[in-house]
Amino acid sequence: MIPVLSLVLGPLGLSIFCILLPRLVAVVPAAVYGGTAGWSIWMIYTRQSFQLRLLDTIGVTLLADSAAAYLLLTNAAVSLGVMLYLRPKSYPPFFHTLVLMLHGGLNACFLSYDLFNLYVVIELTTIIAFVLVIHPLEDRHIWNGLRYIFISNIGMVFYLIGTIMVYETTGSFAMQELSRAHPAAAALIMGGLLVKGGVFIPGFWLPLAHSEAEAPVSALLSGVVVKIGVLPLLRFAALSESLDHMVRLMGVGSALMGIGLALFQKDVKRLLACSTLSQVGFILAAPPVGAFFAFAHGVAKSSLFLAVSGLSSRDLNRLQSSGVQWQVWSAMLLAALSICGMPLFGGFSAKVAAFEQILSWQRPFMAAAAVGTAAVLSRLIFLKPVFEPLPDGFARDSALLLTGFLLITGVAAGPYLRPQWLEAIGITAAGCGVHYAGVRRLARIRLPNRWERLEDIIGMTCVVLLALMILGVRP
């Protein structure tokens, strides 16, 4: 009981000391992230799972199962990577403290098994993430932060309506009561979480928010913060068949839509953000193993976001002609190969596990999305490495750490069977083929950016919400 609570209260409490004594940021975050990593690896290794009820019958329930453990490990890995990235740079101690606070908030989100408690910790995390987004205090960042918190607050309004509907029918805020509540309540709660998790159409805010933030913030947002909306959806999917069906459907839609958007991008960071939209879809398409997929994606994507900060330009066409420093290139290559699902990387084990769990109707769509992922990331893989001095923005330590996580997971989790290796290499090769067959020319087309306007995103979110309700009420 004590270790679970200290995962949440430790970072939050210690961050207050870090504000009072800024010198503490040299040691405290490393110890906290190391503690989270150690505890979650131990949980995964021993396959334990336990529930913790605070106070009596109406108290808040915390659930520490393997899904939560994988996401805690993602959080620890990404926080460690970001810490190593921030170390040599001149970020103020306040920034380090905010990352520590975000770490505590995220841990709370992943452990919570109570609908109202989840709302509180999600809002806490959103506000801390917002402060990180606007940290440089330039106009662009302030507008980006305002959009981020506005849209997510609209999502949480829907979530709260659903929560009180669950309470009225069942007399409890416990998450497992959702299967007994009215389908409209489930639809409202899911709609709110889809906005938070950047899934399908309600996630249209994600490309702009993640690409305009600074590199370490983008890494945190894409690596872990979107998963606060995704893990509850995975838990709902385990509750009943109709919820499972809706989660899978949203996953497939998001996987295809993210790829469709990513093919048209010519900005590196926007391309990565659109790829996050599609990878979140992969997580939801196979709910039983989604948490493991979230781990593999979170580590690889944050490594990519930290690596691209070492590029001389964000424009892919310009990078094509100028080339990329070879260390930055290899960091990008290894992380991109993991997302493509090449053997020996964590992404491979996750993708094999996901493809075992998907239903037959999902298979053609997900195979297409996997080929599309490889085609999109080929744009980064086939950049030309050049021998130049190491650029300032690049942090070698964080790239080594995150790539190490991916390789260790891939080697430890396997599988070592020939057909799956051939299939994975075949999918990646097909993606490269599609890339060279001319899909890369799509990036010359400029998509209208009307769909990214504030009102349009909120309007489309309402439409998706209505569709979810109709889908849920239908027997």
Binding site: F116, E123, D139, R140, I142, L146, F150, L160, I164, E455
Partner: protein
């Protein structure tokens, strides 16, 4: 009846968010939605009775459900802080570009 009115409040807030071009009014419309949610929680609490849930021997009538009332306090505080943060951002942006029209501000940032 009351529930319908509360849901109408939330819907009016949503329409305000969608239709008002002014950023400040959008933020205030979002607060109208939050107010609706808070009333919904209070209404849910009053289904068992309206009296304050305090412990006294032989209560004269049935008391309100204390749980929604307790949790909605947190929602009020969160809603308030988010509103404050949004208003600060909106005023900062309005100082840099002398407009509050969301579409105009957005077109400044289009590349």
């Amino acid at each position: 009846m009351i529930k319908t009115l509360i849901l109408a409040t939330i819907l009016i807030g949503l329409l305000g968010v969608l239709l008002k071009p002014n950023l400040l009014l959008k933020i205030l419309a979002m607060d109208v939605m939050s107010t609706g949610i808070i009333s919904l929680f209070v209404l849910a609490a009053s289904r068992t009775g309206a009296r304050t849930p305090t412990v006294i021997p032989n209560p004269p009538d049935t008391y309100a459900d204390p749980l929604p009332q307790a949790v909605v306090l947190t929602a009020i505080v969160i809603g308030f802080s988010v509103l404050a943060v949004l208003l600060v951002c909106a005023t900062t942006i309005a100082k840099r570009f002398p407009t509050l029209n969301a579409k105009e501000i957005e077109s400044h940032f289009d590349r």
